[in-house]
Amino acid sequence: MTELLTNILSPSWLAYAIAAAIQCALLLVVALASAAVFIWLERKVSARIQDRLGPTRVGGRFGWLQPPADGLKLLCKEDIIPAAADRLLFRVAPYISFCSAFCVFLALPFANGWVALRLDVGVFFILAVAGIEVFGVILGGYASGSKWSLYGAMREAAQVVSYEVPLALCVVVPVLLTGSMDLVEIGNRQAGWFTNWYVLHDPFTFVTFWVYATCAVASTNRAPFDLAEAESELVAGFLTEYSGFRWVIFFMAEYASMFVVSGLAAVLFLGGWNGPIPIAGLLHLGSDPDTATGFIANLLGLGNFLIKTVAGVTCVIWLRWTLPRLRIDQVMTTCLKYCVPLASAMLAGAVLWTYLCPGGLIARARHSLTIAAEQQHAPTQERK
Amino acid sequence: MNLLAQPVGLPHYLVVSAILFVCGVVCMATKRNMLGVLMGIELVLNGANLNFVAFGSPMLRAGPSDGLGLDGQLIALFVIVLAAAEAAVALAIALNFYHTHATVDVDRGEELKG
């Protein structure tokens, strides 16, 4: 794209700037569109779980236009800042949350090679940037100038920071199996049939996936870990004083981070852009994304990735409307007494597995049987 | 705009790290709030880290085998880890001070004076 623009516009710095702006805008559109879709999805799924229909009026039978209508309503609301609030920090807090949730999209691959910034330390970068979101929460809670906001913010910060530890331990297992932190590499390593997916690689990784799911739900502050926004206890936690557009930004940050953890689970454990059946391989479409057939293969991969991510987000939404909320001490107990030891044990188990049977269980069994057969033949030959 | 056309070299990084370092030192020297002093310490450590990374960066070197190489990044990594540990201890001390004096004003810590 840069070369195309350089030919059209004369100052080359303008061409570069516009090309970069277009790519950033595309990524922003992905983040915002996914947030809008998930808002609609949440309302529909929650409605069905509660035996009702959900939005059915705005935009036809299924209420497609409900999220834009909601957004428009919230934009038109009065801009209220509490008198006791720290004005600068109150204004800045939602944007910190949203920016950190959005920056993760920079390193998340959507298909083979289709990643905005192919980093050698992709997974680590994602974890690091996702950990900055907690600042928006703390600042929002403090800057609101009300004690309920501060309590909610502190609880949420403690929860998110605590769950980063088992989350990182769970993420290390696929990195261990691949030998690289590059997400594109991790996804490509799971190519082929669905038995190649890391979740089915060994029992330790299987358990790790479920621990990762728990920690991911906890770190995005979704139910049953959402006591920071607990409507029945703290009004709305750190969101109490936020209304209108600022609340929308916080909300979009939450949905963007849901997309991100779901996408990360898809790439790390569920094969990423590789479908259960290697259609592209069977049709000999080739894997070079610059060719036309490779582009089609990548589109299929993109579809796979999106299906898995949306399925993950649906499960997270399903959990919210099914399970009751945990207390803060139960949340911390789950993290420190269950998730961390389990994740550490699974990491140790995965290390042992890669050391003892590096090619997989079947290869190892075959290897052992071959050695046993050779030993049986050798004494027979000696006797002869 | 000539400034933007020149390549970035080692002195640029060293200037930035010097400014960070001096800001940290002034912060440590003038703040009465103990946590302000701690922030000054973090600035100082970051300035030094930036120095290490600049000397170890492959693109800022004059020749292929000059400079610190990977050592720069590794030392900076160790410094970050140690700084985090030191920040934890410093905060524990600050909390202790707060529990005994009901304030974090360093000017109040004068039991050993005279």
Partner: protein
């Protein structure tokens, strides 16, 4: 003004943000705002690390400093900041002395930065320095005791000393455990001093 060196542009951006917010930390009054400015400054330093091709270190800076140490600091600020006591001013005389000392130190450091001719700007515009293998793999191997980046070191004496950083890695791991246990013990909740008595001891 045909082409901008984008590397230089972003370096200038991150450098200005880092320095400006570091100076804001020095000048600010409110402790919470100081913490916020410090967070932005450290984030800009992480950006500078990314520009210097130390990507792993940039991610570590974001995770450990911004995500960890600063959260710790903000928690500490929340636990100890109390309304009117949240801003304590320093006298004018101390500011002048600190400015003189800081200025002298800055002048000395700047003079040192520009004095060595070997450190002057490289001759060509930055191109991607060719790195063989993945940089984070080389870092990891270095921590495990294998120095793959200095295999062609001709001096035998120096090569003997390049055993990697395994010992330092282990020492730092143990150090972290010790420090965190100690900090948790130091910061445990004890019976607090009677606040009324503390107020009587304070100067007017």
């Amino acid at each position: 003004m045909e082409a901008i060196n984008w590397h230089g542009f972003f370096f200038l951006f991150f450098a200005i943000v880092a320095c400006a917010f570091a100076m804001a930390v020095v000048v600010a009054d409110n402790i919470v705002r100081m913490a916020c400015y410090l967070v932005v400054s450290l984030g800009a330093v992480a950006g500078l690390y990314f520009l210097a091709q130390a990507e792993f270190l940039g991610a570590v800076q974001l995770m450990v400093y911004v995500g960890g140490t600063m959260v710790l600091l903000v928690f500490g600020v929340m636990l100890t900041a109390r309304g009117p006591l949240a801003s304590m001013r320093t006298g004018g005389g101390q500011w002048i002395m600190a400015a003189i000392a800081g200025g002298a130190l800055l002048a000395m450091l700047l003079q040192a930065a520009f004095s060595v001719s070997d450190w002057a700007a490289p001759k060509t515009i930055q191109e991607q320095a060719a790195v063989e293998g993945s940089p984070s793999a080389r870092l990891g191997l270095g921590l495990m005791g294998v120095r793959v980046d200095q295999l062609e070191q001709p001096n035998l004496m120096l090569r003997r000393g390049m055993s990697g950083h395994l010992l330092a890695f282990e020492i730092i791991s143990v150090h972290l455990v010790v420090v965190l246990v100690g900090a948790a013990y130091l910061a445990r909740a004890k019976r607090r001093l009677d606040h009324k008595q503390a107020k009587d001891d304070q100067r007017p």
